[in-house]
């Protein structure tokens, strides 16, 4: 074969192109969160070291905003605490059953809220009891789901990711549907599969339903901004989210107690069918 011939060079170029494109597309196709986490684990560990330090500098300049957010959350929690205290006083609750959910406070050390595939890294890991599939929330938003866990950190697939869905309902009604990010704006989401009979109106509050085992019920996430009928069967509703997920700093990782027992029960029940 003449290695200087035009056809050989063309063949080499096209061959190289096809090989590189196939590699690229395979990488894109296999870019599941867990695989990516495993491949980049070593790189991430180094990056986390630098992120923590650079985040520290940015945090310093954002302290005023964080303080204000914490004060507001604190005031709301005090209000809720007073309500609980009031109820306890009157009902003399002696129930020793632990709460339905385990709450692990965490802070965000790295967030990437500006793309179509967004994620966060939190400063809590396996040694703090974090496991995959735990939900991550704040007092007025759902943040995402833990996708992978290392000893000291966890990797959260953000709700701002088109593959993510959460079960949500309209406050004051029994109408529930699927809440998904619309992919265009970090403040907006879509609540789909709401029955046509729903009487919900623009301005009504949307909160988590608790029907999945990932997010606790009754966390308000936003208000309905518009309503559209879809194919004569369902309504889709635009939702303005309460929390700008780009400005988050502190979150809670939640796990339903007895999760293993619920999973086991579901598994046994499915075997009966």
């Amino acid at each position: 074969m003449d290695y200087n011939s035009r056809s050989y060079k063309l063949l080499l170029t096209i061959g190289t192109f096809i090989v590189l494109e196939v590699i690229s597309i395979v990488m894109i196709a296999q870019n599941s969160i867990l695989q990516r986490y495993l491949i980049l684990d070593g790189i991430r560990s180094t990056q986390v070291f630098f992120w923590e330090r650079s985040q520290g500098i940015r945090d310093f300049f954002n302290l005023r905003a964080y303080n204000q957010a914490l004060q507001e959350e604190n005031a709301e929690l005090r209000g809720k605490l007073a309500q609980v205290q009031y109820l306890q006083d009157f009902k003399a609750v002696t129930d020793s059953t632990p709460g339905l959910y385990k709450w692990i406070p965490a802070s965000i050390i790295k967030s990437n809220p500006n793309k179509q595939h967004n994620y966060l890294i939190l400063n809590r890991g396996a040694k703090d009891g974090v496991e995959t599939e735990m939900g991550v929330v704040t007092h007025n938003s759902i943040v995402g789901v833990v996708g992978a866990v290392s000893e000291n950190y966890c990797y959260v697939i953000s709700f701002l990711n088109k593959s993510q869905r959460a079960s949500a309902m309209i406050s004051g009604t029994s109408d529930f549907g699927l809440l998904t990010w619309n992919g265009t704006d970090s403040h907006s989401a879509t609540l789909s599969h709401i029955p046509l009979s729903s009487t919900a109106a623009v301005g009504d509050t949307v909160c988590t339903s608790g029907y999945s085992t990932i997010y606790p019920p009754d966390i308000p996430v936003g208000v309905i901004s518009d309503i559209n009928a879809v194919s004569g069967m369902y309504k889709d509703m635009g939702v303005d989210l309460f929390q700008d997920l780009r400005s988050l700093k502190y979150v809670y990782i939640v796990q339903r107690h007895h999760q293993g027992e619920i999973d086991e029960l579901s598994k046994n029940a499915s075997n009966l069918n």
């Binding site: 060079k9 080499l12 170029t13 061959g15 190289t16 192109f17 590189l20 494109e21 590699i23 690229s24 597309i25 395979v26 990488m27 894109i28 870019n31 990516r36 491949i39 980049l40 790189i43 990437n112 809220p113 500006n114 793309k115 179509q116 595939h117 967004n118 994620y119 701002l160 088109k162 593959s163 992919g183 265009t184 704006d185 970090s186 780009r246």
Partner: protein, 169 residues
């Protein structure tokens, strides 16, 4: 300073700039600022084509890794434009009397030829990028709007960087 050394320094600066933009500049989820196409059109024109492809793939992969992108997304798009930047050069710049080693400087060819060349390159780049980034997840209209917005924003930024870094007299 030797040309190749200047070229390497400029490439390093642009890669650093790209990583800083990806990690610290927030223009919302619809806009992705990408300087890789600019680096690829400044690859030597007389270089072996398969080498250009490999360099472009490597540059894309570096950006994917350093800026937490979807692995392969920039690499695939960059490889595609490395294939077409040379065949597109002659129809756009028309004359053959330019130096055949690199794309001619703006003072020789005029800014509009650079802008036209960059526009075509960006259109090809974002065609790949947006198809694979939003595969089966976004509506056609959303993808189209995103496509046009990205071409417009990136054309403006690429022209500024082109004038600032690559065409300093």
């Amino acid at each position: 300073m030797p040309t190749y050394l200047r070229q390497i320094i400029i490439y390093a600066v642009v890669i650093l700039l790209q990583v800083i933009i990806n990690n610290y500049v927030n223009l919302g989820p619809m806009i992705y600022i990408c300087l890789i196409p600019l680096l690829i059109i400044y690859l030597p024109l007389d270089q072996k084509p398969y080498l250009s492809l490999i360099i472009a793939f490597g540059l894309g992969l570096i950006i994917d890794i350093l800026s937490d992108g979807v692995l392969g997304l920039n690499a695939g798009a960059a490889t595609l434009i490395a294939l077409v930047y040379r065949p597109l050069f002659y129809p756009v710049f028309q004359k053959n009397n330019y130096s055949k080693k690199y794309i001619p400087p703006i003072r020789e060819s005029g800014i509009w030829r650079h802008v036209l060349y960059m526009l075509i390159i960006l259109a090809i780049y974002f065609l790949f990028y947006i198809i694979f980034d939003g595969l089966a997840k976004s509506t056609l209209l959303t993808s189209l709007v995103r496509y046009l917005m990205n071409i417009a924003v990136n054309l403006a930024i690429a022209t500024i960087v082109d004038l600032t870094l690559f065409n300093r007299s």
